[in-house]
């Protein structure tokens, strides 16, 4: 009899944890959007607006760019919204101690962080999509007919990056957090097929297969499959399968690393 009651309680505590993160996120929304969308949007201004007008870029480039920019904003938002608080909480403020003393399994505290990261990724992507479309003007082949697919890729991509964020935030020493941006995020973004379609890499076969370890590739290609299906992209099924596997791997690594930090 007590078992089902305990279950209800765990879920209500999970919601309380989520509510806390949402309240804090709502308060910091302008800063959050600035932090996670400014860079992709600046890229949109230069490569999606200025260069095409100068004649350096074909107008069709925006077709490849828009889904990629969405994927990048997801990367920034989901990784950061999980990793940065983790680094801070475990590194010096110890704020999370309070939540680690909640009467639920500690893994749920980590799972909640991932869910919060997914929600923030979705907010960031939903913000970037219309703004980028506005800046770039009409985009050849763009369709919102498969919005369900867009949402699916957004959620899966955000889950993969949030799990990665959990892993990075708990595995990296606070002093080395700068490295996360330089050594992990930057290469991921430049070699993530966000600024060019994966098929374009056929010119450099080694690279075409090397980049497959990069989760961003699947998110960017998935966005292409959903938003600009008439242009070259990976099959949606491949993308979904890859993202599920990647999320599972990062989830496991992240959980293990979190537990190590959470329980001495």
């Amino acid at each position: 009899m007590s078992a089902p009651r305990a279950e209800v309680r765990a879920s209500s505590i999970f919601i309380a944890l989520l509510r806390r993160d949402m309240r804090v996120a709502r308060r910091e929304l302008p800063f959050f959007l600035l932090r996670t969308t400014l860079q992709p949007l600046m890229f949109v201004i230069v490569f999606g607006y200025l260069l095409p007008r100068m004649g350096f870029m074909g107008r069709g480039y925006t077709t490849a760019l828009l889904p990629g920019v969405l994927a990048i904003s997801l990367t920034f938002s989901s990784i950061q919204s999980v990793a940065l608080p983790m680094v801070q909480d475990f590194g010096w403020t110890k704020e999370i101690e309070d939540r680690l003393l909640a009467p639920i399994p500690i893994s749920l505290v980590a799972a909640e962080k991932i869910v919060a990261g997914v929600l923030q990724g979705i907010v960031s992507a939903l913000f970037v999509l219309p703004v980028a479309r506005l800046i770039m003007g009409p985009i050849p082949n763009l369709t919102f007919a498969h919005f369900g697919d867009v949402l699916l890729i957004t959620i899966l991509g955000a889950a993969a990056f949030s799990s990665l964020g959990l892993f990075l935030g708990t595995a990296i020493q606070p002093q080395q957090i700068g490295l996360m941006f330089g050594v992990i995020l930057a290469p991921m973004i430049f070699f993530g097929c966000a600024y060019y379609p994966w098929q374009g890499l056929s010119m450099v076969p080694v690279m075409k297969y090397a980049v497959l370890i990069n989760p961003l590739v699947y998110v960017a290609e998935g966005m292409r499959a959903a938003l600009t299906p008439a242009s070259p992209h990976m099959p949606l099924a491949v993308v979904v399968a890859a993202l599920v596997v990647i999320t599972a791997i990062f989830w496991m690594l992240g959980m293990r690393s979190f537990m190590k930090r959470a329980v001495g």
Partner: protein
Amino acid sequence: MRALRKVYKGTGKAKRGGSTHSARWAPPGAGSPPVNDVVALDSLDLDIRAGEFFGLLGPNGAGKTTAIGILTTRILPTSGKATVAGADVVEDSARVRQTIGVVPQRPNADLSLNVLENLQFHAAYFGISFDVATKRAYELLERLGLADKAGSKMSEMSGGQQQRLMIVRALMHEPDIIFLDEPTVGLDPQARLDLWEILRDLHKRGRTIVMTTHYMDEADRLCDRLAIVDRGKLLALDTPRTLKSKAPGGTLIELVLDGDSAPAGVIAETIAGISRVEAANGLLRVHSSRGGQTLPALIEAAESSGRTVTDIHLLQPSLETLFVSLTGRKLG
């Protein structure tokens, strides 16, 4: 009973098993632990009773925080067993967390939330509704003298206020047992006295309190029973009064010499009223049944051995002299 060896080996371990609201530390598993690790706790065996104000007294590095960490499910014991209110701290950690409130060594409030929100969300993490939590938060803030701080951010609170907030937070879910880890470190004297009052009041209201401290007077005045620990071992366990009565009789006198103290020690043993002579590393430590009256003879003993006395300390019989006699070093 004496754990004077300064051995750094093995892994941290602690355990306790116990009855309701209480804890017992069983001996750790046999076998030698890996070399080079610090033994934070070494077969500590304790039983804390329900409703008791229990103190873990020891110097920094004695293993107190590790002990509290294990009992509050934040640290896994290497071996052994501990239960809190009948629940195993490893197997049944969520249930343990339900019955305990924890006041950390350093305030760790949620910096993104204000005082009231901190309390509301803490309660929510225990399944308590915001309405109930808000009412309770105001009551507790009032009781602990923080009524006007409900809307404040952490940066607007003094260290003492933040520490009191940690106590309010620990009480929000009405736990039976409260753990406090060196709660008065870094507080000014007045804040410290205020905190003592709060703790006494909580104890009067029937809460079991487990507190670590390295302040003798704090342990002496607050606790029903005290465990003196050092280097992970339990050295003594009793009421402060009984412990004090166990303190070696007479005044503890320490003379710091400018060189080897062994020859002076030999002479000191012949002085009337002097017992328990320890001489090592330029330190001459004796117990004097005639208080400071033996000082001239002691100084003479030092000088006749060719040494100069550079410093002198006298300690009256107290927990401190007991501690020194147990561990060979001072607390602070």
